[in-house]
């Protein structure tokens, strides 16, 4: 039996509203709110990046896991905003948590799916017996070009999960994956911002792969949408996951806790993992959660978890996602946002 033994998240305190961005670019904020189901997004402080968000999320995961960090034999950080092009984020995280040196680390990148990639690998390593515990993190300080549709959603946050085989808070029941080569979104070497295929990111990309992964895991486990207590999809905006959930036969109570994008934005690699953390925050023992990520390029990982009695014991051992999301926010004007995100050119 393997699964999650601890989890934690970190969300920056800064926010920017859709209206503030739309005002700068002469766009219709109400149309964006309605069309994409987005209201505001998190913004990293100038001293926050993928590594800092990862470490702070993982520290909360350790509090809930209640283990000696030295028991962690593998650390995987999934992100498309690693602070270095060449130098691992994983070693920074492992060192900060006191896990080094007897540990395997790797940085993963697969657009918004890198976080669940790490979770998949971590779970399989524990299952194989290669390590007793493994840490997987999805974290991003997402990039969106000024004036691009992505600027309204690209946000920052991290979710960390410690996998193990004892004292589980959620047992892994099944996994499945669905991948094809679909060029819907990319960022080339040395490019500051990603490019995307506009409407092409919908049907042949997000929707096809999420559907593929959902159908595959339902078939493999002989289950139906109504068999799950909760559902978490990757959330590039607030519209796609709701559309897909309804189309596949899921109901609003199943995705209500996991849908964070309307006030968080898209945390890319952290998106669906943060939705899972928010769902675990509210779940009761013996409930099932279907998690389906999506990463452009493209693919989806699907997981089914069943919560345990221990989940209730760890709920309050670290901050809950909604508390981090809803309380003590600082709202930014576009100028400060541009400075925070280093969008202003300064003399060298």
């Amino acid at each position: 039996m393997v699964g999650i033994i601890g989890y934690g998240t970190q969300i920056p305190r800064y926010r920017i509203k859709v209206e503030e961005i739309a005002k700068v670019w002469g766009a219709d904020a109400s149309a964006i709110r309605r069309g994409l189901n987005l209201n505001e997004k998190s913004v990293p402080a100038p001293d926050e990046d993928c590594a800092t968000l990862s470490v702070n999320a993982a520290r909360d995961a350790l509090k809930r896991a209640g283990i000696d960090p030295k028991k962690i034999g593998a650390v995987y950080v999934g992100s498309e905003s690693h602070p270095y092009a060449v130098k691992p984020t994983g070693t920074i995280v492992a060192e900060a948590l006191g896990i080094c040196p007897d540990v395997h680390t790797a940085d993963l990148e697969f657009a918004c799916k890198a976080g669940t990639e790490g979770m998949f690998i971590a779970l399989q390593l524990v299952k194989s017996g290669a390590v007793s515990c493994a840490l997987a993190i999805g974290a991003d300080t997402s990039q969106g070009a000024p004036g691009d549709a992505l600027e309204y959603s690209a946000s920052a946050g991290a979710a960390a999960f410690i996998m193990g085989s004892e004292n589980l808070v959620a047992e892994l029941l099944e996994t499945d994956c669905y991948m094809t080569d679909t060029p819907d979104f990319w960022r080339r070497e040395n490019a500051h911002y990603p490019e995307h295929g506009g409407r092409f990111t919908g049907d042949p990309a997000y929707k096809k792969h999420v559907t593929g992964a959902v159908m595959a895991i339902l078939e493999r486990t002989a289950t139906k949408p109504e068999d799950f207590d909760y559902l978490v999809f990757h959330q590039p905006n607030g519209k796609f996951p709701v559309q897909m959930a309804k189309k596949l036969g899921f109901k609003e109570p199943q995705y209500r806790y996991g849908l964070l994008t309307p006030t968080l934005g898209n945390t890319y690699s952290g998106s669906s993992p943060m939705g899972l953390a928010a769902t675990l925050d509210e779940a009761k023992p013996e409930q099932t959660i279907l998690l389906v990520s999506y990463g452009s390029g493209a693919g989806s990982d699907a997981f089914i978890f069943r919560t345990t009695e221990r989940l209730l014991e760890v709920h309050n051992q670290a901050p809950k996602v909604r508390k981090q999301l809803d309380e003590h926010k600082f709202y930014l004007e576009y100028g400060s946002y541009a400075k925070f995100r280093r969008k202003i050119l300064k003399p060298e």
Binding site: A45, P46, E48, V55, K323, E327, F330
Partner: protein
């Protein structure tokens, strides 16, 4: 700060690793080779909680090189639960309402970087302890 110096300071900057004297039990941060209180040379490694209260602070409005983007920011002395007094930057706070006695907690943050292509230095910084 050069690379070797930053690398040597990783235990204290990343994990707030301190030395607890095995003889007089005083906690030294950063860790030292000889206890200045009793002369003992043996220490237990401990990680500080990072939680404490703000004793005093100042607001920096004209920052040294590498810190310009953070202005205005606070630098303060924090008395940790363990009794150790630590100086550090206070971030994620409103510098207008910050006051001595505020409860703070250490978080892992970027401290500085060597230009656009150099090393990024990480360290602890303090933030208001709001349970988030």
């Amino acid at each position: 700060m050069n690379v070797p110096k930053h690398w040597r300071e990783i235990p204290e900057r990343y994990r707030m690793e301190a030395g607890k004297c095995t003889k007089c039990t005083k906690i030294l941060f950063p860790a030292r080779l000889v206890c200045p209180f009793c002369g003992n040379k043996e220490f237990d490694k401990i990680n500080l909680s990072g939680k404490g209260k703000l004793l005093t602070y100042t607001i920096i409005r004209t920052a040294p090189e590498g810190f310009e983007d953070f202005t205005p920011y606070a630098i303060g002395i924090v008395e940790l639960k363990e009794g150790v007094k630590v100086m550090g930057q206070i971030t994620d706070c409103n510098t207008e309402t910050l006051k001595t006695g505020d409860q703070l907690v250490a978080k892992f943050r970027r401290m500085n970087e060597e230009g656009k292509t150099g090393m990024i230095m990480y360290s602890y910084k303090f933030v208001p302890d709001l349970g988030i």
